[in-house]
Symmetry: C2
Subunit: 480 residues, 2 copies
């Protein structure tokens, strides 16, 4: 027997589930490699990775201003030839200015920064928060992270003290939360989102989950809210957010607001937990003054879409000073977030403004990405609406649709015979038939007896949507 084997390694790693890059994703990569090698035996000629929100793997182009600045940060000697940049390469003067500002603030992007991030970038984030929410922010409570995932990892490491430590997590959810709680051997306290109310948050449901968990001895410490939702795409109303904060204040729960999709909102308007909390604190300081809120944001999503750079931040409100010292120590152990990604955070929160030389192109690129996503979301939604046994809410935000699928009883039997949950069975057949990789709803959690799938709407064109439609018809006919 090898020294390390499945029976003796960390059982919490073995227990953790992370379907977004699980069996289906691995199989899709195998197919992709076969296609690359010229294999013509497959019934498709392309893999569409609709399983992860990875905009630049598909069609989304990076924002020119951002990447021009980064090119200079990587090779500052470009600034020795400003005229070449300006006259021959199409860089605008504000690109050069921003690059100089960042180089002055960081030195080299090849040097470790301070553990919690470059001070000047934390200041930019604080100013952005103030502009966005109308309330000032203190850069001392901003922590730059290697994507929101790394921020969540940090915060859950601090929060989870014993196996009884519980965190309320929406279901369905992005599986980072359940996976991290498994790794930490803490307790996930699931609360179901309300599909009938466009996947909104019901405080009654949260209360029930909380009371049940408490009565089972769970020390519920925090509540996670993902807004706009992943995988649901829901965009919460201000009233929903108020209710959650009211409940958190009453029960003294730390609030983790995962707001990485804050610019991906098609219906209504994004309300940050921070803005709503600070408003409530003004209205009723006695009740809300002590609420502990961590809000997370990322460069990976939205019109930025720079997942590969691994950048993001979290901001803390109301956290104890000694606890923040422990957070600082924790992030120090991994040294710092990637410095180019920190610079992308700065660019995201402080983009070109009207009047700036780079603004016209920035605005055009930003809006065209936004409109493109909206159109793709709508096209996919219309396709789902036409498909037998599929129910899909109108796209509201984020990068996903999360339709319910009803499959015939024969399909359920066939899935069981293969040892699979029916939605996993469906997604596996879809991949085999079309090369389209999506994630079964079971990977995010779903109400007993319901089946879903999550797909991004990032892929361009309608061919892949047509191939899903065709597959679905044949699947239904086969198992009817």
């Amino acid at each position: 027997m090898p020294r390390l084997n499945l029976g003796n390694i960390n059982p919490h790693v073995v227990e953790a589930k992370y379907a977004v890059r699980g069996e289906l994703a691995v199989k899709s990569e195998e197919y992709r490699a076969r296609l690359r090698r010229g294999d013509t035996d497959l019934p498709f000629s392309e893999i569409i990775s609709a399983n992860i929100g990875n905009p630049q793997q598909l069609d989304q182009k990076p924002i020119t201003f951002f990447r021009q600045v980064l090119s200079i940060l990587e090779y500052p000697q470009l600034l020795d030839n400003e005229q070449v940049l300006l006259n021959s390469l199409g860089y605008k003067s504000d690109v050069l200015e921003r690059a100089k500002f960042l180089l002055k603030s960081i030195g080299s992007v090849g040097a470790y920064s301070a553990s919690a991030g470059v001070p000047a970038i934390k200041e930019s984030v604080a100013k952005f928060l103030e502009r966005r929410d109308g309330f000032p922010a203190d850069p001392a409570h901003v922590y730059l992270s290697a994507g929101a995932s790394s921020g969540v990892n940090t915060l859950l490491h601090i929060i989870c003290a014993t196996p009884a430590s519980g965190v309320l997590v929406p279901i369905p959810q992005y599986p980072l939360y359940t996976a991290s709680l498994s790794l930490l051997n803490a307790t996930c306290v699931p609360y179901y989102l309300d599909e009938a109310a466009q996947w909104g948050t019901s405080v009654e449901t949260i209360k029930e989950a909380y009371v049940t968990a408490k009565s089972n001895g769970t020390d519920v410490r925090a509540i996670v809210v993902i807004n706009p939702g992943n995988p649901t795409g829901a965009s919460l109303s201000e009233a929903d957010i108020r209710s959650v904060l009211q409940f958190a204040a009453e029960e003294q729960l730390v609030v983790l607001a995962d707001e990485v999709y804050q610019t991906n909102v098609f219906v209504g308007k994004f309300h940050s937990f921070r803005q709503v909390l600070l408003t409530l604190q003004k209205e009723n300081p006695g009740k809300y003054g002590a609420v502990e809120l961590a809000s997370l944001h990322s460069i990976s999503k939205g019109m930025v879409g720079e997942c590969g750079h691994r950048g993001g931040y979290f901001e803390l409100i109301g956290f104890d000073k000694e606890v923040e010292e422990q957070i600082y120590k924790f992030v120090s152990i991994m040294l710092c977030a990637p410095v180019t990604a920190q610079c992308l955070v700065e660019l995201m929160v402080n983009p070109p403004q009207p009047g700036d030389p780079s603004y016209p192109l920035y605005e055009q690129e930003y809006n065209s990405i936004f409109e493109g996503l909206k159109q793709r979301a709508t096209a996919l939604y219309e396709a789902f609406k036409e498909m037998e046994g599929i129910e899909c809410g109108e796209p509201q935000g984020s990068m996903y649709l999360f339709p319910t699928i009803h499959v015939p009883a024969n399909a359920v039997d066939a899935a069981r015979a293969e040892g699979r949950i029916p939605d996993e069975f469906y997604c596996m057949r879809l991949l085999e038939a079309t090369g389209v990789c999506v994630v079964p709803g079971s990977g995010f959690g779903q109400k007993e007896g319901t089946l879903h799938l999550r797909t991004t709407f990032l892929a361009p064109g309608t061919e892949w949507v047509d191939s899903i439609k065709k597959f679905h018809r044949e699947f239904m006919d086969k198992y009817r």
Copy 2:
């Protein structure tokens, strides 16, 4: 009381110690901020961060070839103007070729890669390992990581199953190991390095530590070796490595070889654990065939020095397939290593070769960094030799010197009165007097009754060395 407080958060985070960025580092950053604000009340005009191996924060310039390639990866439209790059900006044709190869392999650096890294980059690493060691490597067992720290975090997460799981760690050590074991609530089994033998590894000492730990009920599973050493700077002989591998084979211990300083070797020659193990496997397959070895490398150190990008890799030999599946899942949860950092790994392991247009400059930059580090190490060593009560071994490798300091009894008393260990007391006074930030030996572990400090030799010039000398004289006089 806030919901989260020092008394109820994760006790393993609270227990973890990480002195490299601890109180002294925080204080040095405060001083730096004061100097930046124009404060003239301090007895120094500059902070020298000799506490972390952060080459580009000090004097080390990035390698031009690497950064030119990265500038194109960040802004691929530069390739629309090849003539401008070649004729006006000094890029060579091999820079353009490499950028095209990488862009073809990865798509956009803004897209998530496969969880364990870009396949083509894993292949480059495998080819490098084969060239370095004379034995082929399989890219399937190469995992690209966000620096070696992230690789260590992954491996220890897998290895540590219960509080009784033990890992042999050299003392003194880079505190990532003890901190990670604290976070995982596992057992650190310290084995002391032999200062009298230039901080070499004594298998007798390791055996004693192992036997004692086993008899105390610790399930010792793995041994960490840092070669070249951090903080000690030691460079292990092939015989030392053979002994460790023999012991690991006999006791069935997983070997973690932290080889991030493999190119920082001034005395003798670097021997990789991989090369020695594969040689032993050839000589005696029955005894060595099943050894499980993880070797780690990084872009942060050596002549590359690209810490801020957060890149590295680990390669596994002899690991169980099911365990590797768990490693894959674990790294998937954090999605992937930063993609530009993965590209830097490719550039590091596959640099320009003689005959390539970029080779002459690359070779000149590389050699001049190497020689510069050697000269600085020697100059600092000579300074320490002259200082009363300081004993320092000849520099062998890595980026550090780790001298023993003997302080007068009065200094020990003064330290105790301040609630400090004497070496911490010494380093604090040094920072306050000179602006030079080093790390006390207690941050790495040291034999009871001995005192050390760790300093990098990255800072240029001799002024800072002179200021240490002057401080030391005054300190000794004051407490004599």
